[in-house]
């Protein structure tokens, strides 16, 4: 499945990121979670194809956004990049070293360079440990002894993320959600990583607090030059944070481009649909196209043949069911803008024609409303 979906060298030659060195790259990475069934002997009866052959590169110091709907495999991708999960297929290369199936000992030096920030600040901090212990423990595990001592370093980190260093001895329950997420950020920074995978770091927070954490992450990313993989479902936040964005659908990357190309000149119908579905806090936003897809994302146990989006796509033809479109730079795209589609859309988000309403109930209701 992954043979026809390569051209990672094109990503390397893209604008702006051309000079930078590749930090982490994945080729044809896949994760199939087995499903067991049967009695009395359990046998594998299928697999959830959470991630099914993706190619991505993260460059030093850049921020790569990963967007998609729930169940599209974006979190699984993040977990494989940090090697919390071992891929069932494909290859992960970190600074030229193949870490796809690396063992515990082989990974040890790399673990400290790839850190993760989790979605839920309530379940990702041990309630029985003080903040100091939580932030200190990565240093202890990795035997890092900063000059001035670990405790001093923890205080510095607390100050860096905007918490009072005197809160060193407090427990997580004494903090609010936003502050807890700051503790999570401090912990991820403790080892001075080169790459941070942030898995929906703000989606559990209140609107007014989200911006605080986004600004903090942005400051950290710019000042310390850490590469970020920013996983989120909120397209506006990803646009704000990431220089390059990859859109995932049902275990595949369908489009990857620099921020400007993806948001202003998207080519894949799914990207169009996503962008048109984002509600904007603007009462007169009529110039945007209006696309309403039908139903939900299909099950990853039994994904559609060919192009996975074809079951919800308004441009699907016979070819889409038989040939899987490769992720390539199609004509009319800028450098580094890759799209996996046989029949791409025009590169604009402006309204070009009539609304596309695929949802049968909506179409029915709107038809009756029009005739009245």
């Amino acid at each position: 499945m992954s043979e026809n979906v390569t051209l990672p060298e094109q990503q390397g030659s893209s604008d702006g990121v051309r000079e930078r060195r590749e930090l982490l790259s994945v080729e044809g990475m896949a994760m199939h979670f087995p499903i067991y069934g049967g009695f009395p002997f359990k046998r594998q009866v299928g697999a959830v194809k959470a991630v099914d052959g993706i190619d991505l590169s993260v460059y030093e110091g850049e921020s790569l956004g990963l967007v998609g709907e729930s169940g599209c495999g974006k979190s699984t991708t993040g977990r494989m990049m940090t090697r919390l999960l071992e891929p069932t297929g494909g290859k992960i290369t970190y600074r030229g070293q193949d870490i796809t199936h690396a063992g515990r000992r082989q990974l040890a030096p790399i673990r400290s360079e790839i850190q993760m920030i989790f979605q839920d600040p309530y379940s990702s901090l041990n309630p029985r440990q003080t903040v100091g212990t939580i932030i200190k423990s990565p240093m202890e595990v990795n035997g890092v002894n900063p000059s001035g001592g670990r405790e001093n370093r923890v205080r510095e980190l607390l100050e860096l993320v905007g918490l009072n260093p005197e809160h060193y001895n407090r427990f997580p329950h004494e903090f609010s959600g936003g502050q807890r997420q700051r503790i999570g950020v401090a912990r991820a920074l403790a080892l001075q990583p080169k790459l941070i995978v942030a898995d929906e770091p703000v989606s559990a927070l209140d609107v007014s607090i989200q911006a605080q954490v986004v600004n903090l992450l942005q400051k950290v990313q710019r000042e310390m030059g850490i590469a970020f993989v920013f996983i989120a479902h909120d397209l506006a936040i990803v646009r704000h944070f990431s220089e390059r964005v990859a859109v995932m659908y049902l275990g595949k990357v369908v489009e990857v481009a620099d921020r400007d190309s993806l948001y202003n000149r998207p080519r894949h119908p799914y990207t169009h649909a996503l962008l048109s579905a984002v509600p904007e806090a603007d009462v007169d936003s009529a110039s945007k196209e209006r696309i309403r897809l039908e139903g939900d994302v299909p099950s990853p146990v039994n994904p559609p043949s060919g192009c996975r989006f074809r079951t919800r796509c308004w441009k699907a033809q016979d070819k889409c069911a038989t040939d899987e479109p490769p992720l390539v730079q199609i004509s009319g795209n800028r450098e580094g803008h890759l799209t996996a589609c046989h029949f791409p859309e025009d590169p604009t988000t402006e309204k070009t024609g009539a609304d596309i309403v695929l949802d049968p109930a909506l179409a029915q209701l709107e038809k009756t409303a029009d005739t009245e």
Binding site: E69, S70, S176, G177, G178, Q179, D206, V207, S208, I209, Q210, A211, Q212, V214, N215, Q218, H233, L235, A236, I237, R239, H240, R259, Y263, A273, L274, L275, S276, A277, V278, P279, E280, A281, D282, V283, S285, R292, L293, G295, D296, V297, D359, P360, A361, L362, Q364, L365, E366, T368, A369
Partner: protein, 353 residues
């Protein structure tokens, strides 16, 4: 705790159109740590066929208000005072029996998480049909026909087969559609939607929002739409109420509030939210601090500890005196209208792009 003695929020005159009108609503919960003033003197009106949007952070009292409208609070641990007039009838004084006749019939609710709101033990069809039979006295067969009709209307494929499915066999978007179908079974005049799309993906959210709008046109119900997403509000609502710490801080039509917001909290909400068309080099301007505890809300204006403009107000008014929310288009803030206009135009508007 506040220095306030008189009751604020002078009741707005109840127009003939106001279908639901809430006056000086107060909801209190007694807990081990003290009394939580979850809603503190809230008044609003909803007209037939219109949508009132309520925005606010978690803990601002938006859900509590609407549970109070349907009388869903445990009377043993909470006290609800004030007036809730549904078509002229005060629901606070109503007995449990009367409330049962109203709930699900004249007023219905769509909950945030359809998986927890639907019972896993009964089929979707049974959960749809039961309230309909109870309220209208319809036969089993009629109720089933009605349920299938509603499932078709909200776009569940093969509704006759799906009628006998359990909630876990539905996907997230379909469950929310089934919830909407359930709430519309008895043609309610008032529909309360409590964050109905927060748990859904954007593409599904867009479908559900359009569906609700179209259904409202067809049924003409009044909708109270609760959310924390200003984008969703801009799409859905006619009027808007911004809540903070159990009180309304700004009120107006959606256009007025989103285009000429007058309260510093609304400014904060708008400028802390990234936009698809915004300037990416402009840093987000978050609201400092975190929402207050309702056990011990700040004195005076509840927003003053997080507000950037308190020094523009003379003396200690912000921390000492609670600003009132006037009738109609208004914001509960001590800044003069002139100050608000200049601050918004000079400091806030350029950031919104």
């Amino acid at each position: 705790m506040t220095t306030l003695t008189k009751t604020e929020d002078t009741p707005a005159p109840t127009g003939p159109e106001a279908f639901l009108s809430v006056r000086d609503l107060r909801v209190r919960f007694s807990t081990e740590d003290g009394v939580v003033k979850a809603v503190d003197g809230l008044s609003f009106d909803v007209e037939r066929g219109k949508t009132l949007g309520i925005v606010g952070e978690s803990g601002s009292g938006k859900s509590v208000t609407n549970l109070a409208v349907l009388g869903l609070h445990n009377p043993q641990s909470s006290s609800v005072t004030g007036e809730i007039l549904l078509d002229g009838k005060n629901l606070i004084a109503a007995s449990e029996k009367e409330m049962e006749r109203i709930r699900g019939n004249r007023a219905a609710m769509i909950f945030q998480d359809p998986l927890t709101a639907l019972s896993p033990y009964y089929t979707v069809g049974r959960q749809l049909a039961e309230p309909f039979r109870k309220h209208t006295g319809a036969s089993r067969k009629e109720a089933k026909a009605r349920a299938i009709e509603m499932l078709t209307k909200v776009g569940i494929p093969q509704p006759a087969l799906r009628f006998d499915d359990y909630p876990h066999q539905f996907s997230g978007g379909m469950r929310q559609r089934a919830m909407i179908a359930m709430s519309l079974m008895c043609n309610p005049d008032l529909l309360i939607a409590d964050e109905p799309t927060t748990a859904l993906d954007v593409t599904v959210q867009a479908q559900i929002l359009d569906l609700l709008k179209d259904l409202q046109q067809e049924f003409g119900s009044a909708i109270i739409f609760i959310t924390h997403d200003l984008g969703v509000i801009a799409n859905m609502a006619d009027d808007l109420l911004v809540m903070y710490a159990g009180r309304a801080v700004e009120r107006g039509t959606v256009r007025e509030v989103l285009q000429q917001p007058k309260h510093p909290y609304t400014w904060g909400l708008l400028s802390s939210m990234p936009r698809l068309g915004g300037d990416i080099n402009e840093a987000l301007m978050p609201i400092p601090g975190s929402p207050p505890s309702l056990l011990n809300p700040p004195s005076g204006c509840p927003f003053h500890p997080r507000c950037a403009f308190t020094e523009k107000v003379d003396g200690e008014r912000c921390s000492g005196e609670r600003p009132l929310l006037a009738e109609g288009r208004a914001a509960a803030c001590h800044l003069t209208p002139e100050q608000k206009r200049t601050i918004f135009i000079d400091d806030i508007k350029p950031r919104l792009g």
